[in-house]
């Protein structure tokens, strides 16, 4: 029996311990916001947070998330208003939208590590996330916009983050 938290809720899994987290999220507990794109950690569509760090769910077996806390796009914020989501909305980043869960989860993790990322930081950290629609220049701009709004929002609200400090 594997125990874990998903978006703050306690879960138990007694299936195959080698099953990737991606398929547990999608097929077992039906959180389909996390997407399949390649299965070999080449595209980033399946990016989630495991104990606050960005990870590729497609190559993370369930046995490795025992006792850990997983956050998916559905849990990034309660009201869909994480600074990254707000910036993505403000700049109309998505086209087809399929890769954007992974893009936003990766960006949220980046901003946690580096609140004021440079272009190089953005390229280094976001280059594992493919967008075939080619929304990259808006992603770049939205990461910076989110960084600015976070940096301004923090002292004003006095809270750690928009989503209860999970990220």
């Amino acid at each position: 029996m594997i125990r874990l938290k998903v978006n703050g809720s306690a879960r138990q899994f007694d299936g195959e311990p080698d099953m990737p987290l991606l398929w547990y999220l999608r097929d077992v507990i039906e959180l389909t916001g996390t997407k399949y794109g390649c299965g070999i950690a080449q595209c980033g569509a399946c990016t989630v947070h495991i104990d606050g760090k960005a990870a590729r769910a497609c190559i993370t077996p369930m046995k490795e998330v025992a006792g850990k806390s997983v956050v998916t796009i559905e849990g990034l914020s309660v009201k869909g208003d994480h600074p990254v989501q707000r910036a993505w909305r403000e700049l109309n980043v998505p086209q087809c939208g399929y890769c954007q869960s992974g893009q936003m989860m990766q960006a949220a993790a980046l901003l946690k590590e580096k609140p004021k990322p440079t272009d190089k930081d953005i390229y280094d950290v976001m280059s594992g996330n493919i967008c075939r629609c080619g929304t990259y220049q808006r992603i770049r701009a939205a990461v910076k916009l989110a960084a600015n709004s976070r940096n301004h929002a923090r002292p004003a609200t006095g809270t750690a983050d928009q989503n209860g400090g999970r990220v």
């Binding site: 299936g15 195959e16 099953m19 990737p20 398929w23 999608r26 097929d27 077992v28 039906e30 959180l31 389909t32 916001g33 996390t34 997407k35 399949y36 794109g37 390649c38 299965g39 070999i40 080449q42 595209c43 569509a45 998916t72 796009i73 559905e74 990034l76 869909g80 989501q85 993505w88 909305r89 109309n92 998505p94 086209q95 087809c96 939208g97 399929y98 890769c99 954007q100 869960s101 936003m104 953005i122 390229y123 280094d124 976001m126 280059s127 594992g128 996330n129 493919i130 967008c131 075939r132 629609c133 080619g134 929304t135 990259y136 220049q137 808006r138 992603i139 770049r140």
Partner: protein, 742 residues
């Protein structure tokens, strides 16, 4: 008498329950299935609409009949209806249509959604508005001319009395339907949505992970399938040992899918399906299958050798597409000539969401839930494969995680339907792995192009010969055929040259071939706009000045009958004044006159018309020890009237990335009939650090709306190649560039 009728529908009886009982629905439609068919339709007839309904509670329901794969079409076409209807956007509900011929063409392909449906959507909105006005006028017993529609209300102007739209639904349903020639449209100055950047309807769902794509569809009792296919296209299963596969936890059974009967079209490839209670178990079980295949003639396919076959096909006369003046006589005069060959390889779509479908076969009928660009083709294909009627196939359309042409081809939906039938009616979800997607794609065709020009003393061409060769799309295998795609940037060149002949040679397909975003414009634009850059270089002239000279006097270029999408009768004839304006505008925007190429920095330009839009692009490259970066792209767009400027800009930003990926790095190769690439680790696409910053300018015009989804792609490869030449003196004649500079 109008052909249109107003129908009060039951909840289940119409549009699969989109509208409630008591809704006003403008029912019936006849629209041309294709642009080519347009000429045979009686233009005086009123072809009304099934795209809009009004609920008694005041909600306006607009049916989105085209597929959403990121262009914003699920928002843009409803905006047009809502605008003419004077509807309050906050009270508009958008419903996705199932596949049904009553909507007209639903194949969301060829950049035709706004081009073909801007006017029908206006007609739908105007019809409903005029019936509401008539209903209010009747209730007040005043002339309709004293009444006006404004923001979801009908106002009696002299008295200030008002009715909300919901209050008028029942009365409006009894009003006569205006004939087409009686419809009154808003002047463009009164547009309230058209031309405005309204957030796309799916934005919040996408941002919170709630948007439903094909891969997210589920049905009660659904099982999951992963399919092992013959690595060689056209091969057949001899036998399979599935004992180990069936031992994998979660695996329920295996099932055989029969191979296609030629031509392959959109039929399943055939293979062995592993059925399981989750996707991963199905994929794991599949790895344990031990199939034996009869590979067939496709096993000798080698893309490197094939490249030479294509070249040889351009060394002999081909089928003549366009023939103006006398090219042979011009060449015989002994003028200076220049010739060059260009090659573009196989490409894969690699849309982020691989092909996926859920289907259920019950009582001789199929219900499918899938990400498709063409739900009517789903009906047709599934019906043919299962031997049922297309009306007995219901196709629900989810959001698409990218399409680029791949999802017009519903082989994956037919696979799910075949399996559901074999499983006694259980719903089956077929999920293609990325490896399946790359290896079994309908590949973009490799193309060889040979160009030859005779030049006058100023370096201006007096004769132009173009010969192309590429395998046919979605036809038979292993039989040489012509390609019929000359109208996509090969014969429809805008240059003012007295003698022009273009030809197409025959070539055979050895893998499945299909269209990819901008189709034949990709190789044709690469060759044509590289070649004119070579001619300009030979003449030692500024590129913009040379291209303007080559365009000649403003005129409409008549090319006679042409085939394929992207070519339409007037008012969409090739207007070189628009080409010129796009070129001049991009030169100005990019600061062309002040740009100095050399020492590793280069600027390249291409102007190309496709899908009825005129696009001019300037690319800046930096080349450092063979490593190319693309810091900036300037693109100017004349797509006629634009409904949603921000989404149009987004299409061209994305097309710059897509086009740069094709130019720089993407290539599919085949050896012994097997595709050598399999995933994003070896099929290379652009990532964020490689993506250019693209500056898009839309030239606003009153011309009819034209395509925007694809035409940003074709100018990219030649503009990049020309920029590399300007930076380094090295001429790129084969893609991808990466291989050439290695």
């Amino acid at each position: 008498m109008s052909r249109q009728t107003v129908t009060i529908v039951s909840r289940r009886g119409f549009l699969e329950g989109i509208f409630s009982a008591g809704a006003l629905v403008l029912a019936s439609r006849i629209l041309p299935q294709t642009a080519e068919a347009a000429t045979t339709v009686d233009e005086s007839a009123w072809h009304p609409s099934v795209y809009v309904g009004l609920e008694p509670d005041g909600r306006v329901i607009i049916v989105a009949h085209r597929s959403e794969m990121g262009t914003g079409i699920r928002t843009a076409l409803p905006m047009v209806v809502a605008d003419e209807l004077e509807a309050d956007w906050n009270r508009v509900s958008i419903q996705q249509a199932t596949g049904n011929r009553k909507y007209g063409d639903q194949n969301t392909d060829g950049s035709t959604s706004i081009t073909s449906f801007f006017q029908p959507m206006r007609e739908a909105g105007a019809t409903a508005r005029m019936m509401l006005v008539s209903a209010a006028a009747a209730k007040w017993n005043v002339p309709a001319s004293e009444c006006a529609a404004k923001n979801h209300e009908i106002l009696h102007t002299p008295s200030g009395r008002k009715f909300g739209y919901g209050e008028l639904v029942a009365a409006a349903a009894t009003q006569p339907v205006p004939k087409k020639d009686e419809l009154k449209f808003k002047p463009s100055s009164e547009y309230r949505y058209i031309g405005k950047d309204i957030p796309v309807t799916d934005l919040d769902q996408i941002l919170t992970g709630k948007a439903i794509y094909g891969i997210d569809a589920k049905a009660p009792g659904m099982v999951y399938a992963s399919i092992e296919r013959c690595p060689v296209i056209g091969g057949k299963l001899k036998s399979v040992d599935d004992a180990e596969a069936r031992k994998v936890p979660g695996v329920l059974q295996t099932a055989i899918i029969d191979p296609f009967k030629p031509p392959y079209m959109f039929q399943p490839l055939g293979g062995v399906a592993v059925i399981a209670n989750n996707t991963w178990a199905a994929m794991q079980g599949r790895k344990k299958l031990k199939p034996e295949w009869e590979f067939g003639p496709g096993a000798s396919y080698d893309s490197a050798a094939y490249k030479d076959e294509l070249k040889q096909a351009t060394r002999v006369a081909g089928r003549v597409e366009r023939n103006a003046g006398d090219v042979d006589a011009a060449f015989a005069k002994g003028a200076k000539t220049h010739e060059a060959d260009y090659y573009v390889p196989h490409l894969a779509h690699a849309e982020m969401e691989p092909p996926t479908a859920v289907a259920q076969f019950q009582d001789g009928k199929v219900t499918a839930w899938t990400a498709t660009q063409d739900p009517q083709q789903v009906q047709t294909t599934v019906a043919r494969v299962l031997g049922i009627k297309s009306n007995d196939v219901t196709c629900y359309v989810t959001l698409l995680g990218g399409g680029f042409g791949r999802k017009s081809k519903p082989d994956y939906v037919a696979e799910a339907a075949v399996l559901s039938k074999q499983l006694g009616g259980k719903p089956v979800k077929v999920v293609w792995s990325r490896e399946d997607d790359i290896r079994f794609d309908y590949f973009h065709f490799p193309a060889w192009m040979y160009l030859k020009a005779a030049l006058d003393e100023k370096g201006r061409p007096t004769a132009w010969l173009g010969r192309s060769a590429y395998p046919p799309m979605v036809q038979g295998l292993n039989t040489p055929q012509n390609g019929y795609l000359g109208s996509m940037g090969w014969q429809d060149i805008p240059w003012d040259i007295p003698n022009i002949r273009t030809e197409n040679g025959k070539a055979a397909a050895h893998v499945r071939i299909g269209w990819l975003r901008s189709v034949a414009n990709i190789p044709h634009a690469f060759a044509v706009h590289s070649f004119v850059d070579e001619l300009a270089a030979l003449a030692n002239r500024d590129r913009v000045e040379y291209l303007l000279d080559l365009l000649g006097p403003d005129r409409i270029v008549e090319m006679g009958r042409s085939r394929g999408r992207g070519s339409r009768p007037n008012p969409y004839a090739l207007d070189t004044a628009r080409t010129r304006r796009a070129l001049e505008t991009v030169a100005e925007q990019s600061g062309w006159a002040k740009k100095k190429s050399g020492n590793g920095t280069g600027y390249g330009i291409a102007v190309h018309r496709s899908f009825l839009s005129y696009i001019a692009t300037v690319v800046q490259v930096e080349v450092d020890h063979g490593r190319v970066t693309i810091p900036r792209v300037d693109t100017v767009v004349d797509a006629g009237l634009v409904v949603h400027p921000d989404r149009v800009k987004a299409q061209f930003e994305g097309a710059a990335v897509f086009g740069a990926g094709i130019a720089m790095m993407s290539e599919i190769t085949a050896e012994n009939g097997r595709i050598a690439q399999s995933n994003f680790n070896n099929y290379m696409v652009q990532r964020i650090g490689q993506a250019p910053e693209t500056h898009v300018t839309i030239i606003g015009t009153d011309n009819p709306p034209a395509g925007v989804g694809e035409p940003g792609v074709p100018p990219m490869a030649p503009a990049i190649a020309n920029a590399i030449f300007a930076a380094t003196g090295k001429r790129i004649r084969e893609l991808p560039v990466k291989k050439q500079l290695a």
